[in-house]
């Protein structure tokens, strides 16, 4: 048998020689800000105040399944989302940008059919529960219908209906009139609701920028577009009336106004949902869904419990704790669900997901949580764990493994060319996690010294060198500018639903600087993104 490398080995060409030439997390391009996401020349680009500021292209995107779900919840109430609706929604697949859901493909016929079914079911459900909760006026009155179109439409379309097209209200009113004449007023309202939920103005993140107000290469987004971006960034759902009101009166027309709104939104309980959505995707926590383990300490549905623990920990860090990246990586406490405290070897809290204190010598924030360790499994864990640190925490993507690979002993994998080209940049990091088994139990007898032997891109003295424990690695990471940069990039990807392009480099630098200045405060990072020029504008070339 030809012996290559283990289950996660890497394309020969990209990983030979010096390791980690990429790693900015910014896609390669031809623009002046290209920091090189792949091997090749890296251009220096000074992001001075006077430098021309630009921004990457943001493609038209549809709501992701999760955004659709949360937006519908806000529009129609949580009870609107029954099992049938959730199942139909699952038939419309999301696309991905790195690990974040983002759907740029046009819907095909089957997707349109699913959208139609969803809209019909949601509207029928709303009617069955009583349209009074949505419409307080006399539904047989045409003026009532017009008012509904304007009010509900403003929330569903995330801007005044008439601002999209002067005749749009009349189009919907005509639908009401036809249906009302053919059936009855309630059916007409149900049909109106269906139509609005099927409309592209609901389904797409459609933005309006003002080319006439362009400064340099940036055309500012109008207030409603900024409101939507803010809302989906912080709440993972559409804007509420208050935010739309702010857009209407011009409160989102400058950075100060946006900052004020962003801070208020972060204080809203809905921000917890947005925070969970980001971390679930960034940390790949959905991989624990449906996870099974043949282990005496494993319980049915434990994958969901582990994920919930991780998300509650994130929530606590951001909203009750210091709110910093450092705490996320180094905290020695958690919120284990049923049966999970035993994995830590501690007494469970009085209630599931209650706080427990952990040994700081062996526990380091999110890095040692069972939800992370479990998703990597027990086969070649050093590869998967090291790869996770490389890709998700340092934004240093490695190529996909080549075809036809088979297992190779660790020593060969990291010594023998060509496998070692890539494995040297991830396996040694993973070795440092050897004291944790596939459920995150601390088993120091399995440990061996970890070592980051990267001699290429990682020039941060805090990361280079050996580490004797994961808490030590976590401390190093928490101090590292590399991880601050990567977390910034990951949030910008999430915020924009696209890859971070070379044109975004200066903007990302500024956001990262603000993040660093705040001491790694995650809330401040979101404020910095929200107030950034790139977040509040589009490139003029997209509009011409």
């Amino acid at each position: 048998m030809v012996r290559f490398c283990s289950a996660l080995l890497l394309v020969l060409t990209a990983c030979n020689g010096v390791i980690g030439d990429g790693g900015s997390g910014i896609a390669a391009g031809s623009g002046p800000g290209d920091r090189g996401g792949s091997p090749g020349p890296t251009l220096d680009f000074e992001c001075d105040e006077g430098a021309g500021f630009t921004v990457g292209h943001t493609p038209l995107r549809r709501l992701t399944a999760e955004q659709y779900r949360l937006t519908v919840r806000d529009l129609l109430g949580v009870e609107a989302l029954d099992a049938d609706t959730v199942r139909t929604l699952s038939l419309i697949p999301d696309g991905q940008v790195e690990t974040f859901a983002s759907t740029t493909l046009a819907p095909d016929t089957e997707n349109v059919r699913s959208y139609l079914t969803l809209a019909e079911d949601l509207a029928a459900g709303a009617r069955a529960r009583g349209l009074e909760s949505l419409v307080s006026c006399d539904r047989s009155d045409e003026a009532c219908a017009r008012s509904f179109i304007e009010d509900f439409g403003r929330r569903a379309f995330r801007r005044p209906v008439a601002s999209i097209d002067g005749a749009l209200v009349d189009d919907y009113l005509a639908l009401y009139q036809e249906e009302s004449a053919a059936t009855d007023a309630d059916t007409a309202f149900q049909t109106l609701l269906t139509a609005m939920l099927l409309s592209p103005h609901f389904l797409y993140h459609a933005e309006t920028a003002d080319l006439d107000a362009a400064v340099g290469e940036l055309a500012p987004l109008d207030g409603y577009s900024v409101a939507s971006r803010l809302s989906f960034l912080i709440w993972s759902a559409g804007p509420d009336d208050a935010l739309l009101d702010a857009a209407e009166v011009g409160d989102l027309s400058d950075a100060a106004g946006v900052e004020e709104q962003a801070r208020a939104m972060l204080d809203d309980p809905r921000a917890r949902i947005g925070m969970r959505r980001f971390h679930e995707q960034w940390l790949r926590l959905s991989r624990t869904k449906g996870l099974e383990r043949d282990d005496p300490q494993w319980r049915d549905g434990m994958g969901d419990t582990l994920r919930e623990e991780a998300l509650r920990f994130v929530e606590h860090v951001v909203f009750e704790g210091e709110g910093t990246l450092r705490e996320l990586f180094t905290a020695s406490y958690s919120f284990p669900g049923e049966g999970v405290a035993e994995l830590y070897g501690v007494e469970p809290a009085a209630v599931p997901f209650g706080r427990v204190e952990l040994d700081p010598e062996s526990r380091a924030g999110i890095l040692t949580q069972p939800a992370l360790m479990a998703q990597f499994g027990s086969l070649f864990p050093e590869v998967h764990r090291g790869l996770f640190v490389r890709e998700q925490l340092l934004c240093d993507p490695l190529p996909a493994p080549p075809p036809n690979v088979v297992d190779l002993p660790v020593e060969d994998r990291t010594v023998t060319s060509p496998c070692s080209g890539c494995h040297l940049s991830m396996d040694p990091i993973g070795f440092g996690f050897a004291a944790y088994d596939d459920l995150g139990r601390f088993r120091p007898e399995n440990a061996r010294q970890g070592e980051v032997r990267d001699t290429g891109r990682l020039d941060d003295p805090n990361i280079l060198g050996t580490f004797d424990s994961v808490p030590e690695l976590a401390e190093n990471l928490a101090r590292s500018s590399d991880i601050e940069h990567c977390v910034t990039v990951q949030w910008v990807r999430y915020a924009t639903g696209r890859h971070v392009e070379a044109e975004d480099a200066c903007g990302v630098d500024r956001i990262e600087a603000a993040f660093r200045e705040s001491g790694g405060d995650i809330g401040e990072l979101l404020v910095a993104i929200a107030t950034s020029e790139g977040f509040r504008a589009r490139h003029v070339s997209e509009l011409e």
Binding site: A7, A65, P93, Q96, A195, N404
Partner: protein, 468 residues
Amino acid sequence: MAKNEMKSRNRMGRRGLLKGLGAAAAALPFLSRMPVSAEAATPKVIFFGTPNGFLVGPDDNASRGYAGWRPPGFSGSEGALASALPGVFAPLTRHRDDLVFVEGLTRLGSMHQHRVAGSALTGRPIGENSTRPPDFYATGISLDQFIAARAGATPLTTAFNVGSSNSGGERYYSYLGANRPVTPIQNPRDAFDRVFAGATSDPVAERRTIRRRRLLDLAGRDLATLERRVPSADRDRVRQHIASIDALDRELTEGGIGASCAAPTRPGDYDFLAYQSLPQVIRQHSAVVARALACGYTNTATIMCGNTGGRNQPQWPEYGINSSYWDHAISHVFQGIPGPLSEGLSQGEAVRLGLAMQTAYNDLFANLLDELANLEDVDGSRVLDNTLVIHFKGMAENHSSDRLMWLLAGGRNLGVRGGRLKVVGPGGRGSDARHIPDFLTGILQTVGLTDVDTFGDPAFNGTPIDFG
């Protein structure tokens, strides 16, 4: 121009917009179902895709207790199949004389094996995406769509649970064009309704159809408005959305084949996404597909048994399997190569599960052939005789996709000689490799589209495979 004229032009509906689509619109089928000839049987094609590889390889592996597909003593490039098909292929024995095992196909270039989903029916490499999350798409039209479009039809694209996340391009075999995957119908009842919906005198149903068409019309108008708001780079996608709406509207207008065709039993309401539902879902899709082709609803169809990577767990007691390991993990360990989420699975158990899985897929394929064999075509022969049915996989043994084996069934009236094994190439990457496009072009020529010399990427087209 008068102001009113301007307004009128700006607000043209989606039909008006479609006229402006140019080349893109030209590629669109014009009917949701094809014109039917009363005399001549239409050549038909069905693609039946199953995850991973057949696992067993061409020859016996006596030491591990399973057989390959080659008959004992086989050598050369062509020969008769054994009278009783061995091992995992045993369920196909009853169709032996309609089968051609096509061995020695090679995938395209150095493309990653999981990406074969996008190239299997397009004959083109997938779009490059250097990032690990598998969001990749094909770079051209797939053969099912191409053949259907030539007949003015739309393929019926069906599947069992292809996943909603983390499986990216592995969800799709069928493509309208570059970056235009076709989402398969996963609920058998939806597939049934699509095909067999007929004219009705039920006023409630009539009103529902009128309402749906009105809703689609309004959505189309909204899209026209949206098109004016978005940057030019996004307009093609808005137009594609409009085209999708138009296709659904045509379907509602024309309906299915209704009472003109003997329908199978309408599938009930059950959890069609549950792992244990795969056999039932595939049988129901097969019944609908067979009749859809027999009755002239369309001339091509695709049935996917999950996505290419096999992210389903075979919990099929009727086939002696009830596993919480993924199809893909089982396939890994089968070959002695532990893979993701295969912890605790021994190779012995993986071989047992893997053989049972492949037997199940072949049994479901045989069931589809049964359906086609039991239906009479307009020329009095079996529908199977006028249909090419291809059981294909993106991989061969484990992750090797350089020695692909695809199964061709049916097509007796189209010149296919069954009961044979054909070794069409060495299966490697040398200059004598026979790539997937040679198979696809061979299919085209067998169904009579002889004006097409190549399909997919010209760089991987050699001599079309002759199935005669």
